[in-house]
Amino acid sequence: MARTIFEKSRAGRRGYRFSGEPAPAPSGIPDSYLRKQAAGLPEVSEPEVMRHYVALSTLNHHVDKDLYPLGSCTMKYNPKLNEDVAAIKGFAGLHPEQRDDDTQGALEVIHLLEEKLCAITGMDRFTLSAAAGAHGELLGMLLAKKYFVDRKQNRRKVLVPDSAHGTNPASAHLVGFQNQALPSGENGEVDLDVLNRNLDDETAVFMLTVPNTLGIFESRIGEIIELVHAKGALCYLDGANLNALLGWARPGDMGFDIIHVNLHKTFSTPHGGGGPGSGPVGVKEALAPLLPEPRVRRENGRYVLAADGAESVGAIHSFYGNFGIYLRALSYIIRHGGDGLRRISAAANLNANYVAHALDGLYPIPHGKRCMHEFVASGEPFKKYGVRTLDIAKRLMDFGFHAPTVYFPLIVPEALMIEPTETESKETLDRFIDAMRQIAKEAAENPELLQTAPHNTPVRRLDEVTANRKPILTAPLEDSTG
């Protein structure tokens, strides 16, 4: 294993040396807060630092290295132009406590991104505050709860299809709602009879992902939303799969009341070891007064950051969320424009269908190979060789690919959830398909090769059982100053 940078530390080693004495501590800081000894930072030269982190970056799998087909996560390539925009000095050097007069450009970025997200999704108002998809869900549930409390309606139930992301029921539970899972129909879509039977005067929200986690568009979405609204409940869209819809269909037009989107999925900001995330929440006009604060408003030709709404659910993040991420997402949206975003979704859906059709037969796709941006295959046929989906996933790493999402959604046994995204070329998809075919062959001929995989990675198969049963969450740091 690679050594930590602390283990590489040698006393007195430096990147740069400065002449003269170290500057004294600024005056006015109470003595109790002043450090009495060195901070214990690693002492290393510049080339050592550079090599250390470059070496670490080669040990891990990331989207700059190769395909990352992790279903429902939209691990698309993060354009480096985004980084250039986020590094513009006037933005990167801002302090959140600066006055509105000093930060008009930044406030305009926030305001413009909110407008763009409204235009893309058909919602009336957006807040960018939530720092992740699940944080957006939590906010969405808080909004729904307050919406009904303000209207003196006692609605405690949230309906969630059994194909939903696990975060959906978790978010509803955190806010104090009671979850009810709805079994999906044979075709993987919402079963309208089941929905109808479970909807009642106590139902607050129906949470839905479109396309759903099987990569299938809910063909009866209009009727679904009508049914829910007829009972006075709200419809929530988990926008994790928005990458399938850009420029083709808008959740707001479908009738959704609250949605979240993931800038780190659909809008190409860093994800998976990168980040931070951002899960903006959009609402229809009736819920707009409840949105968290602060909000950016345009008044008399200038932007202000305001917190004065009596009906707001309050703050859910310090300042106004993860601003650096907004710059990256806005850069991506403006660069592609409406037509470009539409082509992005078309290509994402085409790529997923290409892979699904190539793998169908070897890896059954129980809900049909016609999909949108992702599909769910099954590793079931390989069980007879003693090979499980986990083994297939581990073996894929030997071919230089990240594994798909496995064992989710729960309604497909031995699930392999594959989302190639639009940023992959046909050549890359073909390499992936070849690897999957090779693995299917190996499963029959040499199952042990899969059961003991991975073989070519920096670490071999991890002991996930012990890691879960007896996790070691701390490690002593050697004192590097000695």
Binding site: R388, V406, Y407, E464, V465, N468, R469
Partner: protein, 128 residues
């Protein structure tokens, strides 16, 4: 082993009963523990808690997933197998023996008739 005094739910729980007693022992089936894989944590109901048949009474966490445990029968929890807190892997090794979950005092003995016998359960999971 004999499965004569055992009944099975479609959610993969088993119930072991004795004539003349309303106290039953429950757990999850060999098939379920095999499908879940290595079990790492079990969240039990409280002793004294009232259960309603086919409603969640706890959760079972494996390396790859988390699943609800459903009450196979209505009744009151009388005992919980706390040994599993320290070593949940016992469920994988001995799902019908030392890996039992909870003992329930049934409130309605006729609910047993709604559960499956072993051969019916085996047919459901494709093993019969």
């Amino acid at each position: 082993m004999s499965f004569e005094n055992m009944r099975f739910s479609k959610e993969h729980e088993w119930v072991q009963f004795e004539e003349g007693s309303n106290l039953v022992t429950t757990g999850i089936t060999d098939y379920a523990s095999g499908e879940l894989g290595d079990i790492v944590y079990i969240e039990f109901p409280e002793v004294g808690q009232e259960l309603k048949s086919m409603e969640p009474m706890g959760t079972i966490e494996a390396v790859k997933t988390v699943a609800d445990i459903y009450a196979p029968l209505s009744g009151v929890v009388r005992e919980v197998n706390t040994v599993l807190n320290d070593d949940p892997g016992i469920v994988n090794q001995s799902p019908y023996g030392e890996g039992w979950f909870v003992k329930i005092e049934m409130s309605d003995r006729s609910e047993l008739d709604g559960l499956m016998e072993k051969h019916e359960y085996d047919r459901m999971v494709g093993k019969g």
